[in-house]
């Protein structure tokens, strides 16, 4: 009984931004939302938040519909930074926290807690416009989790952060998940989704082209990656039956093959005199799946 989207769709005039989409996100789950620009991710989030009404379908959280009365249950980090540039961090966060149903005192305590967690307590009385992009993003993140929401929606949470800060933010998100928060997040960075989510959904022009458990998706995809490092000429593999793509590397090649059996055939085709430094069969990355699934619909 987590978040349920039941055949929701959204039309803007003649243009359909989201085709009927059904989603089930159990509580305490981290759910990944992938999609190119204009795929309908933000529109879907806005419908969940009640900023815009869906053309059809229903959205429920724990069986109840969401509206402005339930806004204290939800945290939202928009894709674009949304903060008052000339307000101090403390005033800003207190205001946003109170709008989500916190008391002033409670908000101030939480602000101090979070600023310390992100190691930036010195910015409490600084204006947001004086902060670096990365620190602004941290403030933005704090504004979305300050009121300890049950459901947290993160639209591109890692944009503009350096690797250290990304790790810090990931840790914070993990902790929230462990303590019971349900999290939905979108990203252009496949590796983040691959690393953090068990379930995901790839949107393409408002349609879910891939949906479900990450491991299942990879298994169903079938194709594998094969990396060979050898001194021999490997050009013949480009025409080898069962090879989908061939990419030459400086000291070998990288192949995408239709299934595991092909790799056995390739292995036996390699002459035994040749020295093979590396022969590795890999699971497909989410990136491969994304490029193929989205690319196939990319007309």
């Amino acid at each position: 009984m987590g978040l349920k989207l039941n055949k929701i769709s959204k039309d803007f005039g003649k243009f359909t931004a989201v085709h009927p989409l059904t989603l089930d996100v159990p509580t305490q789950e981290m759910y990944g939302f992938l999609g190119g620009n204009g795929a309908g991710k933000t529109t879907t989030f806005r419908m969940i938040l009640g900023l815009i009404d869906s053309t059809s379908g229903t959205i429920t959280w724990k069986g109840k519909s969401l509206n402005h009365q339930t806004s204290h249950l939800i945290g939202y980090l928009p894709e674009e930074r949304g903060l008052y540039p000339n307000l101090k961090v403390k005033e800003q966060l207190t205001y946003l926290g109170r709008l989500r149903g916190m008391s002033k005192q409670n908000a101030e305590n939480e602000i101090n807690k979070w600023l310390n967690k992100f190691e930036i307590p010195q910015y409490l009385n600084k204006k947001v416009e004086e902060l670096s992009k990365g620190n602004q993003q941290k403030i933005q993140f704090i504004s979305s989790v300050l009121h300890d929401p049950e459901l947290l929606i993160l639209d591109e949470p890692f944009s503009g952060l350096d690797p250290l800060n990304i790790e810090m933010l990931k840790k914070a998100i993990y902790n929230l998940k462990t303590s019971g928060t349900t999290i939905i997040f979108s990203s252009h960075q496949m590796s983040h989704v691959e690393e953090m989510c068990e379930n995901l959904c790839i949107l393409q022009k408002g349609r879910a082209v891939v949906q479900g458990n990450l491991a299942d998706i990879k298994r169903a995809y079938g194709k594998k990656n094969l990396v060979i490092h050898a001194n021999a000429n490997l050009n013949y593999l480009e025409k080898f039956p069962g090879v989908v793509t061939y990419k030459p590397l400086r000291n070998g090649c990288e192949l995408q093959i239709e299934n595991e059996d092909i790799s056995k055939q390739i292995f036996s085709s390699l002459s035994s005199e040749q020295f093979i430094r590396k022969f590795e069969l890999e699971e497909p990355t989410l990136n491969d799946i994304f490029i193929e699934k989205v690319g196939a619909h990319y007309e």
Partner: protein, 416 residues
């Protein structure tokens, strides 16, 4: 409802604490201070009141003595008899020792014949004063020589007195009209300024929240309608604070200066003769007018994605309020004109014009009620419409300069 007050409080306090607000208020207070002390400021800068010295080469003693008696009560001109010749006199004027030189002679009929020398003769009040005084003397000399009786002379100068009687018992007397005109004028002007300043402030506030994208966070917490009206009321309270500060300062500055003036005079210029209803109507129309235009401003503010684009979109609103202002100015002199009657029922004009009519004329109650009803209904319609456009508008980004955006915003917020 709780969120309404959080947004309202936030709008009010952040604006109140802002430097811009404090500086504007300080400037306005200085202005009040200046107006309250206007007489001493004029004295400080204006040497005219000290009296200008005019040299007179006196070739006509009779006329001169009459002229100097006439001018003795006038502090701005002081005549100085000059014994030396014309050339030296001109030189003295050129050296700025004296304001002007007057060569006063008699013609053959013993009437004044005058030459006037000054550094500049462009805008010379001294010259005008002298001219009118000399004309008076000339008239008197001519009439005397014609042998006209002194009494006839006096009667000749007396203006015709018209006693005005309004047959309608409830019609306003002359003095009442003057006071009403003053009050109406002040109210119209204050409303005009308030809409310009605070309407702009609302629109800018909303456009800023939108362009900084904080709006998306805000309206996912509180409904756009709550947000919009909390903004409107918050800015209204801010405006009231500002106006109250200025009024308090004005009263504090002016009251001590009134002690010297006797109370009968106060009664005459004061508020004694005006019905308290006029003030109530003033307040009512002021609030309604503000609400009407503030709603429009909020709606437009929600449509732009950059503050820079705001002016263009607000233009139609400003034009409306300027038209209303000019109709009102025209109506102050001609309150019974047809255009005034008609426009007192048009919601965008009625806050000013209907109040003007109430102040200046006897307007039947039903007309007032209808006008207010139309106004209130318009505000409600605009409020509902504005809220919907606002709901969609705050999520729309991109260039927004046309009325087509209103349609887009409307469809974005459509419930299906």
């Amino acid at each position: 409802m709780n969120k309404f007050f959080i947004v309202l409080g936030h709008t009010y306090w952040t604006r109140l604490k802002s430097k811009a607000f404090m500086i504007t208020t300080a400037i306005l207070l200085l202005l009040v201070l200046a107006v309250a002390n206007v007489d001493s400021i004029i004295k400080m800068f204006d040497s005219d009141l000290e009296g200008k010295e005019v040299l007179v080469i006196n070739e006509a003693p009779t006329i001169y003595s009459e002229l100097s008696t006439n001018l003795s009560s006038n502090p701005t001109i002081k005549l100085v008899e000059y014994e030396k010749g014309l050339a030296e006199g001109k030189a003295a004027v050129e050296k700025d020792e004296y304001a002007a030189l007057l060569l006063l002679e008699e013609d053959i009929h013993a009437l004044p014949q005058v030459k006037y020398y000054a550094k500049s003769i462009a805008t010379d009040t001294t010259q005008n004063t002298l001219e009118s005084n000399l004309k008076e003397i000339k008239d008197r000399l001519l009439i005397e020589s014609a042998g006209v009786d002194e009494a006839v002379l006096l009667a000749l100068n007396e203006p015709v007195h018209i006693e005005k009687h309004a047959l309608d018992k409830t019609s306003k007397t002359d003095e009442e009209l003057d006071i009403a005109r003053a009050i109406v004028y002040v109210m119209i002007f204050v409303l005009y300024m308030a809409i310009l300043i605070y309407g702009q402030m609302i629109a800018t506030d909303i456009a800023t929240e939108k362009s900084s994208r904080v709006m998306e966070v805000l309206i996912s917490s509180a409904s756009p309608v709550t947000h919009m009206f909390a903004k409107i009321i918050g800015i209204a309270l801010l405006g009231m604070t500002q106006v109250a500060l200025i009024i308090i300062a004005g009263i504090a500055l002016i009251i001590p200066r009134l002690k010297g003036i006797d109370s009968a005079f106060l009664q005459e210029i004061g508020i004694g003769g005006v019905s308290p209803f006029l003030f109530l109507y003033g307040l009512l129309f002021f609030l309604l007018g503000y609400l009407l235009y503030a709603t429009i401003a909020a709606m437009f503010g929600s449509l732009v994605s950059r503050v820079e684009d705001l002016q263009q979109l607000l233009m139609p609103m400003f034009i409306l309020i300027i038209i209303a202002f000019f109709i009102a100015m025209f109506g102050l002199n001609l309150p019974e004109a047809k255009i005034i009657t008609i426009s007192s029922f048009i919601p965008f004009f009625s806050p000013m014009i209907m109040f003007l009519r109430i102040g200046m004329l006897e307007v039947p109650l039903w007309e007032v009620v209808i006008s207010i009803a139309i106004l209130v209904i318009t505000i409600i319609i605009l409020g509902v419409l504005g809220a919907r456009i606002y709901r969609g508008g705050v999520l729309m980004y991109g260039p927004s300069r046309s009325l087509k955006d209103i349609k887009n915003a409307f469809s974005l917020s459509k419930k299906e």
